[in-house]
């Protein structure tokens, strides 16, 4: 079980509130805290489990940022207030009244847990890693998509170095594995992973299946990359699809909560206005009263108990299928297969409300009810099975169609000439200033921050999917412009200090970055 946990770096101290910052607050309330609650419950009940979880450096930076922590408390405070109003408002409707009480309780508990971990949820995840249950892996510093950095390899190195250095600081030991941004692998990139001290990574199924030579065990055993000896695990499509598919997957079950009916859109404008976007745009509040019900727009009220039963049933179904899969594979492989099931963490809780509950049921069932399969992680598996085939995996990603098209199409392809040029300019600066100090050093460090932020694959992804496009354009433009201005000023030795100070304050990621990692 691998959960990829990522959000792009969105932090706007220059505004009092900012729509896209809500991504983080929603993810905390709906996904991160519910997962922490699940893990806490498992530990409390003595259930042994293994989950691998990436926490991207951008997300770690945001979760550790005091401004965003402060704002989360403000955000959750408003939600608690709204749910209180809802308890009042729904007094004559017992079904909705019970649901509003459920939300009230959840939001309060979110605030409690958030405070209990001293506002920094990274320490919660660290706790489970220290207990040996969670294996936290890293990612590219700002989730730059490596296959499209092929002509700017020093940027790949820098993305990895910044990530590893942050990880060491936060978790007190180096990371052992990595989730490549967008699961994007290009043959040869494993060499950079090796340089960064990383022992394993994941590819999509075809990354392994289409590798050369053909992998003997398909995706059901890891391989070592030819030149680097870094281990590569391939994604199992069957288990992925059971959870992911919007058609056949569990999250589409009619008893589960409907994501697209939110009181932010449903209720009277004047009433809901204080809890939606400050510019008056209706947005999701997180309070949703209906279940999926069926394929029409007619929705029935959500029944938590029915949904809970379904989640238990689906966990049982998932376990049953893994058992049969493992038995079948054992028969033809004549060795124990490993089944790698990676998901976006935000699927659990944010999109699929019952996801964390399902995971809880699943882990407990695996632990208590059977002995055919066992949860493991890459490190433990490799310790037990050190001998593996040596191949070169194939270029691949887990994006639509499996390669780079999501990030390289008419809507976003124009960005690469600017991104690549910025990488080359950064190389040039590093060469020119091997030992900078003072203002120039600050400017060089900031130049690398701006480059990193521009490289986030999220911007290209957003441009491709068509929602929040103007924000993604703005971010790409801002970071490239800031980078180019810094480049010119550094070369001319005329760095404008007040302006530098301003962008250091705005784009404050990786406080102790060293520009020389970009080479």
């Amino acid at each position: 079980m691998v959960l990829h946990t990522h959000l792009p770096y969105v932090r706007h101290p220059e505004f009092n509130d900012f729509l896209e910052e809500d991504w983080l607050y929603e993810a905390i309330t709906e996904t991160y805290i519910p997962l922490i609650e699940v893990f806490e419950g498992l530990v409390k009940d003595g259930v042994d489990f293994r989950v691998t979880m990436s926490l991207t450096p951008t997300l770690i930076s945001m979760l550790s940022d005091s401004l965003l922590q402060e704002r989360y408390l403000r955000h959750i405070g408003k939600l608690i207030e709204l749910s209180e109003h809802e308890i009042e408002r729904t007094r004559f409707e017992p079904e909705f009244n019970a649901l509003s009480r459920m939300y009230f309780k959840r939001f309060k508990s979110c605030r409690d847990i958030f405070n209990q971990y001293h506002r920094n949820l990274v320490s919660a995840f660290k706790r489970f890693q220290d207990l040996g249950k969670l294996e936290i892996i890293t990612c590219g510093a700002t989730h730059g998509y490596f296959p499209l950095m092929d002509v700017a390899k020093s940027s790949i190195r820098a993305q990895l170095r910044a990530a590893v250095s942050q990880y060491e600081k936060v978790f007190g030991r180096p990371p052992r594995g990595i989730w490549l941004p967008e699961c994007g692998y290009n043959p040869g990139d494993d060499q950079f992973l090796k340089e960064a001290g990383l022992k394993y990574f994941f590819t999509d199924a075809h990354g392994l299946l289409h590798g050369s030579p053909r992998p003997k065990y398909g995706v059901f055993a890891p391989v070592y990359c030819r030149s680097s000896q870094v281990a590569c695990f391939g994604r199992d499509l069957e288990s992925s699809k059971q959870v992911w598919s919007s058609i056949e997957g569990y999250p589409g079950d009619y008893h589960y909560r409907e994501f697209y009916r939110d009181i932010g859109f449903d209720l009277d404008y004047e009433y809901i206005k204080p809890y939606i976007s400050s510019d008056g745009t209706r947005i999701n509040t997180g309070i949703k009263y209906y279940r999926i019900t069926g394929t029409t727009g007619q929705k029935q009220p959500y029944m938590p108990e029915l949904a809970r039963q379904k989640a238990a049933e689906h966990a049982g179904n998932f376990l049953f299928n893994r058992q049969r899969q493992a038995e079948y594979l054992y028969e033809i492989l004549e060795k124990k297969p490993i089944i790698v099931s990676p998901y976006d963490t935000e699927l659990y809780g944010h999109w699929w409300f019952e996801g964390p509950m399902w995971l809880d049921f699943l882990i407990r069932k695996i632990y208590f009810d059977q002995n055919i399969i066992q949860m493991t992680n890459a490190v433990e598996y490799l310790e037990e099975n050190p001998r593996n085939q040596v191949i070169t995996p194939s270029m691949s990603s887990w994006g639509y169609k499996g390669y780079s098209e999501v990030w390289l199409q008419g809507t976003n392809d124009w960005a690469y000439r600017h991104l690549h040029e910025a990488s080359w300019r950064m190389d040039e600066l590093v060469k020119k200033f091997p030992e900078a100090s003072g203002l120039i050093r600050r400017a060089l460090n900031q130049a690398l921050r701006e480059l990193f932020l521009a490289q986030s694959s999220d911007w290209a992804f957003i441009m491709a999917t068509g929602t929040h496009v103007s924000y993604a354009l703005k971010r790409t433009q801002e970071h490239i412009q800031r980078f180019n201005k810094l480049y010119e000023e550094i070369k001319a030795n005329s760095v404008e200090e007040p302006w530098l100070k301003d962008i250091e304050y705005k784009d404050n990621i990786f406080a102790d970055i060293d520009y020389r990692i970009h080479q």
């Binding site: 408002r89 092929d150 002509v151």
Partner: protein, 393 residues
């Protein structure tokens, strides 16, 4: 955007794969490149040919040209027809025959084979690109360069920049020939060789309009290495390279036919594993479709990237006229600011001036709402009980 009807000239094509299909990337028109003075060296992969003009003779004889037309779609990608079947070489047939023995015909089609490449579909993408590019980013970086990137097993993307000064220089050197010269991308298949400019397995040219700055190239060649020159094709047949790209390798679109000796894999076993991975085998959860079919699914169903933005797919309801009517009830009043007020037995907070206002969702039926106020010293008490009946017809 101009409608792109492009000519492809196959320059040299021993054992050539299907007809290359062109894919114009929209150009931003009116680009202005500044005249440069200094040339910076790029990463060693992005090689440039600058001051000297290189003359390349096309190798082999030119074959008949072949036209393909495309639907332009504003700034986005154009859809294109599927690649054609192509002849295969003897050597490959033999090698593949080894791989394919002992597996069924149905399974065999999932192995890479030039004869039965899995059909690809190209998604038409809604253009979002606006004038943004022109206004907000530098027009150029004062370089002659061309960069090549892999989009998928079949398609490459390339972008380039040629300085005004370079054009001027070429114009001077070539004089009259410059007027009739065509701006061309020459695509080289450089698989498994140390490319020196003249030893490519084959190459083909793509003519483009003057303002093009990037292009999508259908190589129809998974698992091959590629290099591209941007240059001028003169009327006397010579080709002048202005800049040469980095070399990229397209991934295979199926399992490799290479099985190393130490780990000889029985084909049957591998095919069972492979089909099991893609859901054809005896596994209980039948995916029914091979991997590439799965990849064609819409976003959100295949485990796609950036989870926060790719929802479990929103169901699209059939468009139909609709109306929603809900009712709410507002109960408001006032008393002494320090009084204690309960509504249906539950205490409520008063505003500093002693007023209060409550808002309830009002379902059908009869609601009895006793409002009770008790004075601060508990000596006085008033109860008012509105009864509200709602009926929806």
């Amino acid at each position: 955007m101009a409608k792109a009807v492009k000519k492809i000239k196959k320059v040299s094509s021993p054992g050539k794969a299907g007809t290359p299909i062109l894919h114009p990337a929209p150009a931003s028109s009116g680009s202005r490149l500044s005249v440069g003075k200094k040339v910076k060296s790029l990463s060693n992969k992005v090689r440039k040919v600058l001051s000297k003009v290189v003359f390349n003779r096309p190798q082999g004889h030119a074959l008949a040209s072949h036209s393909q037309s495309h639907k332009p779609e504003g700034g986005g990608l154009a859809s294109h027809s599927q690649s054609q079947k192509k002849p295969i070489t003897k050597a490959k047939t033999a090698r593949l025959a080894v791989v394919r023995k002992a597996i069924t015909a149905q399974e065999a089609k999932y192995f890479t084979h030039p004869e039965n490449r899995i059909t690809k579909t190209v998604q038409a993408v809604e253009p979002v690109r606006a004038d943004f590019e022109k206004k907000e980013f530098p027009q150029g970086y004062d370089k002659d360069l061309i960069v090549l990137q892999v989009r998928d097993p079949w398609w490459l993307h390339t972008y380039w920049e040629v300085r005004e000064g370079t054009w001027g220089k070429l114009k001077n050197e070539l004089a009259k020939l410059f007027e009739t010269a065509k701006k061309v991308l020459r695509v080289y298949d450089v698989s498994c060789i140390n490319f020196n400019g003249s030893n490519a397995h084959r190459s083909f040219d793509i003519e483009m309009h003057q303002n093009a700055k990037s292009w999508y190239i259908d190589t129809a060649g998974p698992g091959r290495s590629w290099c591209v020159d941007v240059g001028l094709k003169l009327s006397d047949g010579r080709f002048i390279t202005i800049a040469r790209s980095n070399i990229v390798t397209t991934p295979l679109d199926g399992p490799s036919w290479v099985t190393d000796e130490e780990w000889m894999v029985p084909d049957e076993l591998f095919s069972r594993l492979y089909t099991s991975s893609v859901g054809l085998g005896g596994s209980p959860v039948k995916l029914k479709q091979p991997w590439l079919e799965l990849q064609k699914r819409a976003q959100g169903s295949g485990g796609v990237s950036s989870g926060f933005f790719s929802p479990v797919k929103k169901e699209k309801y059939k468009r139909e006229f609709w109306l929603v009517v809900n009712t709410e009830l507002i109960v408001y009043g006032a008393t002494e600011p320090d009084a204690k007020v309960t509504v249906s037995g539950k205490e409520i907070a008063l505003r500093p001036d002693g007023t209060f206002s409550l808002r309830f969702s009002l379902p059908d039926g009869k609601q009895i709402i006793p409002v009770k106020a008790v004075s601060a010293d508990s000596l006085d008490e008033r109860v008012i009980t509105p009864v509200v009946a709602k009926e929806t017809r």
